[in-house]
Symmetry: C2
Subunit: 325 residues, 2 copies
């Protein structure tokens, strides 16, 4: 059975593994990213990771069918080039796929990290056992990212900017966000903006001192999104209101994905979902309240299954797909 | 050069033509749709249209490479079945593609009419001379419909409901619409809803009698979207405000298409755009005001080029694509 190496090139760590044709992990590893190193040194580090994996799997490197790399930053996936990446300051229009291919002698493909993670969930995670052809992944982290699959393929868009779903507008003339656009999904529903809205709600509420959020803020000097959701579950009205708004804006995004793309599955990844069922149950309830009544909704709103392994599994899946077009 | 017949099966007329491999129309015709007829009678009518076209082009019917049909209603495009169609009451799970193929002996494919029109613009209209792989079409009629193309292919979605962009949410808890969801694009920006918002604005404005819209309403007993846009151009403040809101909500939809799909081109079709440049220029201005600043926008917002021929040309394009996978 052909095997693929997936490399998830993060700012802190390179997570990597060998994955077979069926999406099963044979072996995996993680090493620190030499992010300040030269291009050559980073290519060497990636090659070493590949050799370490091959040794661990007792697999000659020339029997690895292909290698996939998931990387943050602006990627030219067709040509395997990292145009620029905030985490890799020495990289600028760097043909990383070609450089690693020259080093190792195996076909090598490059993909955006968010797309790779989405494709990992599609191939080997939440979408694995189902004949899914249309899927959206929403990653709720510091920002909100995404990946889109239509007709069984990743949607890159014309210039590689598809799936930037945190920058969708969900509230006309709404809150300021990171990139000029007002009222974006991220400016309401990311973890930092959920926490920020909670602080604002406390400031504006005449009953703020009755909220457990006020005590947390007083005791710890800060508020997190997890504080908001944990407190909302106890029935605290300010926390519940803020959490409900986060759920509502995420549900609006889901309704719009359904109207535009009609996916079978919307997969939620990232720390905010991993924190517990509460937010997820509220997103599902808001979605049912907001969606249309033309036909019953068939979309599944589900949590991601691969956790931090989605990136390298997805990079391997990209290699698998590119090598078997 | 292979030729294809495209049939646009509307509620009132069947528009049809023979189109060659390059998207050029060889001949075209239009006949009344026998919408109340039996399935057999309608298949006969479609077969007659095909024969009429073949005769006009001096082309033996067995030299037609394939036939495409665009139809309103719920379509199972993979199996060529009209599940139901409001305009064709005698059709229910009717395998129209198979029935026409049996009648004529040529490969026959069925597509949703909105998708067919979008694919027509993609193949032979606004997208024709460019290496477009990602396109969105917005049709502004009584309702708002659409068609989505990613990776060069129509996006149908899991159950054929992709592209229902009039039902996207653009205003949380906004105006009531046709299908339960509040604040949909259609409930703000369709022609009837634009006219309705103008009537509401007159009712609510203390200066209504100063608006030319009030005179039109008094003189004709009604207001149309065209009245609103024509009056807005003269600087009438109530009309301009209503028109600007229509443009803004359409621009929000465009921003969201760009963030989700990163298309090269968004094509506007339908009567509201054909009515003149004013609305279009306002949509473009609102889009530039609302979109992000991460990279300069490369998307083109353009009018459709094929008018009422888009449907049959697109049906022929579907036949071309299905017959040459």
């Amino acid at each position: 059975m052909p095997n693929y190496i997936g490399l998830d090139l993060g700012g802190t760590n390179i997570k990597a593994g060998i994955v077979d044709d069926a999406g099963t992990i044979l072996t995996q590893t993680s090493v620190a990213t030499p992010s300040q190193a030269s291009v050559d040194a980073l290519v060497d580090a990636l090659a070493n990771v590949c050799q370490t994996l091959a040794n661990a799997a007792n697999l000659p490197i020339d029997q690895v069918a292909a290698i996939g790399i998931g990387s943050p930053g602006a990627i030219d996936f067709e040509n395997g080039i990292i145009k620029r990446s905030p985490n890799l300051p020495n990289f600028s229009d760097t043909p990383l796929a070609k450089l690693l291919r020259q080093k190792i002698g195996r076909p090598t493909y490059l993909e955006n990290d968010a797309n790779a993670a989405a494709f990992g969930e599609f191939w080997a995670g939440a979408g694995r056992d189902q004949a899914i052809k249309y899927m959206v992944m929403i990653t709720l982290g510091t920002g909100i990212g995404g990946g889109i699959i239509t007709n069984g393929k990743l949607v890159h868009g014309h210039a590689g900017f598809a799936g930037e779903i945190g920058h969708m507008i969900v509230q006309p003339h709404g809150r300021p966000g990171a990139a000029k656009t007002l009222g974006t999904l991220e400016s309401y529903a990311s973890a930092p903006h959920t926490a920020k809205r909670a602080r604002e709600a406390l400031e504006q509420s005449p009953n703020a001192e009755a909220s457990a959020l006020a005590s947390i803020l007083a005791n710890t000097g800060t508020l997190t999104a997890k504080d908001v959701f944990d407190t909302a579950q106890t029935g605290d009205p300010i926390a519940a209101q803020v959490a409900e708004e986060t759920a509502m804006y995420l549900a609006i995004a889901c309704v719009n994905f359904c109207r535009i793309l009609d996916p079978q599955m919307i997969v939620f990844a990232g720390g905010m979902i991993a924190a517990g069922d509460y937010l997820f149950s509220r997103i599902r309830a808001e979605f049912q309240a907001l969606t249309w009544n033309v036909v019953p909704e068939h979309v599944q709103l589900v949590p991601a299954q691969l956790g931090n392994d989605a990136g390298f599994i997805g990079a391997a899946a990209v290699a698998h797909t590119q090598a078997n077009p």
